[in-house]
Symmetry: C2
């Protein structure tokens, strides 16, 4: 039985968001110095290709395919030394992430380099493959930003199938990075309404949950309280975790929570958001029924954890 | 009203763990190029001093004091350029974290350099100050391991009160790092027992929850399932978040969860743990009643999130 076949978890809120459906067997305990070479030599190996925040997709019928055979990589100038073994599909089929250096201008017509956000928003790749792409994109972004040692500046080298890097000069060990972000829906229970805001870089009319990076030395709950107060001036009492989501822009973990509002008077921090208001149940329901750009007001798309926080509050009270 | 005065949250499990009680006002939106200089000039400023994974404590009566006046720093060769403004206590009293370069051998008798874990285990510093120390220790560890740019190897420089670093050569921006770790208590509901293991580096007789780093592209729930299966061979169905804890060794966020066991036959990975077994309620209660080293079997100390996961399962069923 795969760990993803255990009962119960398919109904968890975290299993419903985009990028979450990744069933690769990571075999994290078996990452040794030969695992990447062995994987590349397997006839079942397939690779994700990334370059500068974009994944390389192959046209396939009306849609796209994101997996490439290993012998197809060569024409794209792949950085094999810094590739990462993500895990195994269907028992023995290795999945590898690799950065390629070919200028996107020189791509053949059959290949498109598309940024991760557009791949998700436009639904070009879905389900399990989208989750695997998120894993690969996050790891390649980490590899690229850790080519040198943060302690001494020397060039680092990949170990353990790309999942660890080491500085040959000072011995510093580097591990993959995941940045926790809290994203939260504040609920004013007395008036049965929720708090949504919009950042200046949102599409016109879109409102979403407030969010921000969790800081060192903070609990999840305290980060929810701090961010909500900083951005909207609202005090939060009890916090309840709801769901989490991998977010590969570049290597984030979204931690979705509900927060019980202990005050209701909004005071916006204009450096962070341009508007913030309370939405009652009817208004919130209208918001999530409209996706981005279709009408005056809209919410993030169905795969977004913000969408689920709003929708699940509407469905279950909170 | 401070954000920590809102009703309800004092009863949250996350408020009960060590390192969690940090009531500094971080003012994260107001970190500009002058904030650290202004803070250092304040007569109310106090500093935490760190060196190589240890905090510098001052003897005070029968115990220790962790806060130092700014003019006391000079004799320890402080790295003021890379200091970090943590936030403000009691409205206007800045709290600063600074790395000092004085050889611990040369410390005056009144000062002790003690590693963060011992400070917590021995209860030398408690409550709010311990949480502030965690914030400072994590940030200084991050500063020290990001003195050079990971992209190009050049020396980076501090910005925004130390909360951001920038590479003057390539423009790469660096942000504080927090590593999410899942720590979980697997529950076999049918037999009313929980799963605990011990790592070879634990004190003799100590058992605790299984734990491991969340990986890029993973939800919290999937990380709980993967780690439990890798370490103990146990399949987990539904996962429930319980509490989180800042853990400054060096900059970790512990995410504590319960997992419903979907299998019961243990298969240990000996590279990770040396023993793992099911504990029924009586056995688990005996375990948490004994602290480390007092008898044959013991659990982590009361401040540890593992202790709370076990104790709260005993108290509330799960």
């Amino acid at each position: 039985m795969s760990i993803f076949d255990a009962p119960g978890h398919k109904t968890e809120p975290s299993s419903q968001v985009a990028f979450a459906g990744n069933s690769l067997d990571r075999r994290s305990e078996h990452r040794d110095e030969n695992c990447l070479g062995d994987a590349l030599a397997s006839p079942h190996a397939r690779a994700f290709m990334f370059g500068d925040g974009r994944a390389f997709l192959k046209k396939a019928g009306d849609g796209f395919e994101i997996l490439h055979k290993v012998d197809e990589l060569q024409q794209f100038d792949p950085d094999i030394e810094n590739a990462v073994l993500l895990g195994f599909a269907d028992g023995e089929a290795p999945r590898i992430a690799v950065h390629v250096r070919l200028d996107p201008e020189e791509l053949p017509d059959s290949i498109k380099a598309i940024d991760h956000r557009s791949i998700y928003i436009q639904g070009l790749i879905k389900g399990d493959a989208l989750g695997q792409m998120a894993q690969g994109a996050s790891l390649i972004a980490w590899v690229r930003s850790h080519a040198h040692c943060g302690r001494c500046g020397s060039q680092t080298r990949a170990m353990a199938g790309g999942y660890r890097r080491e500085c040959p000069e000072c011995g510093h060990m580097l591990f993959p990075r995941t940045d926790p972000v809290v994203i939260m829906l504040a609920i004013d229970s007395e008036n049965d309404r929720c708090l949504l805001g919009r950042s200046p870089h949102f599409p016109p009319g879109m409102y979403s949950c407030l969010a921000g990076f969790l800081e060192p030395g903070e609990t999840i709950e305290d980060a929810v309280r701090r961010e909500t107060h900083e951005e909207a001036g609202i005090h939060i009492g009890q916090v309840r975790y709801h769901a989490s989501q991998p977010w590969p822009m570049p290597h984030t973990l979204m931690i979705g929570c509900y927060g019980e509002a202990a005050s209701t008077k909004i005071a916006i921090d204009n450096r962070e958001i341009e508007d913030c208001r309370w939405f009652n149940r009817e208004e919130a329901a209208e918001l999530v029924s409209r996706q981005t750009g279709l009408s005056d007001l809209s919410s993030p798309p169905p795969g977004a954890i913000a969408h689920h926080l709003i929708r699940d509050w509407l469905a279950h009270g909170r």
